[in-house]
Subunit: 154 residues, 2 copies
DNA sequence: CGGGGGTGGTTCGAATTCGAACTACACGGC
DNA sequence: GCCGTGTAGTTCGAATTCGAACCACCCCCG
């Protein structure tokens, strides 16, 4: 496999993936900024916290989930802390650990931004597909994610 | 549709898309940096030029294709020009126009970087899917892209 | 208990990106 | 021909991101 090019279908899939990813992330970011003063990375961060037990996560764990560097996460959490949407808390049991905690205000901000965000995701991706296509998309990309995660720290 | 949340499958598809996109772009960037001194955005830029007739494109057109801002493109083209991989050329017929042209060196850089890049794309996405899944992925994401492009300048 | 290697988080400087403002040129109507 | 509106590309300052260096702390092994 040391030199195989991509055939017609493979190329179409890959380029479509790349373009859609670029376009959709940009569109989401635009919408969030206009609509609630959040950026796409910030929205994703808040979402992960909201889904976590106790609405809190270790910094390192959060960085991993967001596919961001530790230093990048430090910056964003600081921004969100200034805005009052996130709070830092000591982690009991390891004095090095810091928990990022979603505040009441953060939850509200998420609640305000969610409908518009969802609308964009639906209009430009989800609602364009039927159930079979949706299931295939979920399966295939979950497999890709698993592979990427598994070979990440190798 | 003013408040519909995502069901199980929809959520799985969307989160997998987001994660895979983040992970894959990061992995590609790592590989390209180690392997040839290019970044992922630079590789994509050179690829678009290589595929264009005459290996050249108008700046505005290129920015649109890459889903980047015009100022961002100015920066990257300048970087690549310093490195000798791209050259700027006047556009005959509109004195405002500038063409970005792939140089011989740029073509060689692309040629050197391509095998490693392809390997990453295959290992983490393409080769994980069978022909049907691949075709579905291409179809669905092409449709999403078309929708995003169509509603872009609305 | 006392290092030594490893992990968690931050700080720092460099690179990249964006949008707004700006300059130069194009095009249509008067 | 000349002006007003619009487009192409660049410049500028601000925001975001990364990796490397750093400090504090954890855990294991002798």
């Amino acid at each position: 496999m040391t030199e195989r090019w991509l055939d017609e279908t493979e190329m179409r899939a890959w380029v479509a993936f790349l373009d859609t990813s670029n376009l959709l992330l940009r569109r989401i970011d635009q919408q969030l900024r206009e609509d609630g003063g959040l950026t796409q990375p910030q929205y994703e961060l808040l979402t992960r916290l909201a889904e976590a037990p106790g609405q809190r996560m270790r910094m390192a764990e959060l960085a991993l989930a967001l596919v961001a560097s530790r230093s990048g996460l430090t910056y964003q959490v600081s921004q969100l802390e200034k805005a009052g949407l996130v709070r830092r808390e000591a982690y009991t049991g390891d004095d090095r650990g810091i928990l990022a905690v979603l505040t009441e205000q953060g939850e509200q901000a998420l609640h305000r931004a969610a409908p518009g965000h969802l609308r964009v995701v639906r209009e430009n991706l989800i609602d364009l597909l039927d159930r079979d296509q949706l299931a295939t998309l979920a399966d295939t990309l979950s497999r890709a994610r698993a592979h990427l995660r598994a070979t990440g720290g190798a």
